[in-house]
């Protein structure tokens, strides 16, 4: 039976992992790893899962072990965060290019230095070109739901790519919220049995994986990998629709909050969306036409859908919780590129906020909307890129 539970974001992900009951979990259990691994290891110790739990000596080894286990023919998961995720880097690309549907729970935290592992999205944004599907989650319910959907998306034969499910560090991962935990059997029924694809352990049909691939074939394999990533859009839609029918919660590539007649729309990822919605409700009660587009699917990026959703806005403010030094923010770069083909483009600018866990308070969100009101009034953007809430000003 489904149950309403008060649980942390990390705990919600661990519960999803318990229900998925993967064949192998390989993870490095020390900081900056998260409570996800700790909670899941308890499930292993208590015999609540059949998982082979491999405590490796580093995240580099964790992802290596995941790739090997996935190639052998298992359903495989891992969990990490921040610098641990960065240490997986080389193998992130290998998992994606070998088309192994590894599932990663990523708790978004800063990359040092100076030393900091508090909330921002520098970790996952840096890996946006690694070939992983990226799903973002506003709260623990969304993190749980995204994770329940992840194996179906990753393992679809049109896709066969790894998926990372992201949630904000500490703000969500370590904070207790109530959420609906679905019934174990219902989740397992939704996910279904794992169907291996050319597994190495099928010795009647021997295969080689990860062979040398030189100038004459490498780009053809990359072309195929790109196609699989683009196929993921349809599969994400199909799986999300099925999830909605079974569990009653509807997810699309993004959530449009009060966007219907909105003149000024903020685009954001993850937990800050909660505060933005609060502020939008308040401003709407004062007659302001404001809305939020909260992106769920960042890779593959739904350009056409984002363009259509923002086509009637006059001002689009993008909030990036990651900094691409010397460039515009990663979310902004995509959103602005998506708008380029509109005959009448909204004004569009980027604000970086909240690095290293700096709070984004309700009054800060109010000032974001105050600025977008001023941009609308002036009819032009004076600064395309800036930081928010930084001492010393602009």
């Amino acid at each position: 039976m489904s149950a309403t539970k008060a649980i942390t974001g990390a705990g919600a992900m661990a519960e999803a992992m318990r229900q998925i009951n993967p064949d192998v979990v390989a993870a490095f259990p020390i900081t900056p790893s998260t409570q996800v691994v700790e909670d899941f290891s308890q499930f292993v110790a208590d015999g609540k899962v059949d998982t082979e739990f491999v405590t490796v000596e580093s995240e580099h080894s964790a992802m290596s072990a995941c790739i090997g286990a996935a190639a052998a023919g298992g359903r495989v998961m891992t969990a990490t965060s921040s610098a641990g995720f960065a240490y997986m880097w080389e193998l992130l690309y290998v998992a994606a290019s070998m088309r192994q549907p590894v599932i990663l729970t990523l708790i978004n935290r800063a990359l040092s230095g100076p030393i900091n592992i508090h909330c921002d999205q520098s970790d996952s944004m840096g890996a946006r070109d690694s070939g992983w599907i990226q799903l973002y989650s506003e709260n623990n319910q969304e993190a749980y739901d995204n994770l329940v959907m992840a194996p179906r998306i990753a393992e679809d034969l049109k896709v066969r790519l790894p998926v990372m499910v992201c949630q904000d560090g500490f703000i969500i991962s370590h904070c207790v919220q109530t959420m609906k935990l679905e019934d174990d059997a219902a989740v397992r029924d939704f996910i279904g049995p794992y169907i291996p694809f050319h597994p190495l352990l099928d010795t009647d049909h021997p295969v080689s994986m990860g062979a040398l691939d030189l100038q004459d074939y490498f780009i053809e394999h990359k072309r195929g990998q790109y196609e699989a990533m683009m196929n993921a859009k349809d599969v994400v839609k199909k799986v999300s629709d099925e999830f909605a029918r079974k569990f009653g919660r509807t997810y699309r590539f993004f959530e449009e909050y009060r966007c219907d007649d909105a003149e000024r729309i903020v685009v954001a990822l993850n937990s800050v969306a909660g505060e933005i919605k609060e502020v939008i409700d308040e401003l709407r009660s004062q007659g302001e036409r404001v809305g939020l587009l909260k992106l769920r699917l960042f890779r593959p990026f739904p350009y056409e859908e984002v363009r259509e959703a923002l086509s009637r806005a006059k001002v689009v403010t993008v909030l990036d919780r990651a900094c691409s030094f010397g460039a515009w923010g990663p979310l902004f770069a995509e959103v602005r590129a998506a708008l380029y083909d509109l005959p009448e483009k909204p004004l569009c600018y980027d604000r970086v906020f909240g690095l290293g866990g700096r709070d984004m308070l309700v009054e800060d969100v109010l000032s974001v909307f105050a600025e977008s009101a001023s941009v609308l009034k002036k009819g032009r953007v004076d600064k395309v890129f800036d930081f928010l809430c930084v001492r010393g000003g602009v």
Partner: protein, 117 residues
Amino acid sequence: MKQRMDGKAGAPAAWQELTPGGIITEAGNSVAYETGTWRSWKPIWNKEACTHCLTCWVLCPEEAIGLVDGATAAGKGRKQIAGIDYYFCKGCGLCVRECPVNKKGKAAPLTFVRDEK
């Protein structure tokens, strides 16, 4: 010449024809890989000087040394060297260097020459 990874004849495969991630589903398809294109030096086998000790056959990393059924002077059956398959011979020179008859410095079963192809 370009090779097809699946070992079939014809032009190299288009991306749509490839397996996800380049999984190789045919065991032993390296027989279709022409390592002979790598060669800049070439071993020449001199049948008259060869004692058929098979040292080169054991050591060749590309299995480019061929064997045939033969017989000893006493008429007993044995394997003999048949020659070098230049489709696979990459010209590493290992056979030339390790040939025990070559090492004696008399008639050379294997000589190493510049490959002028």
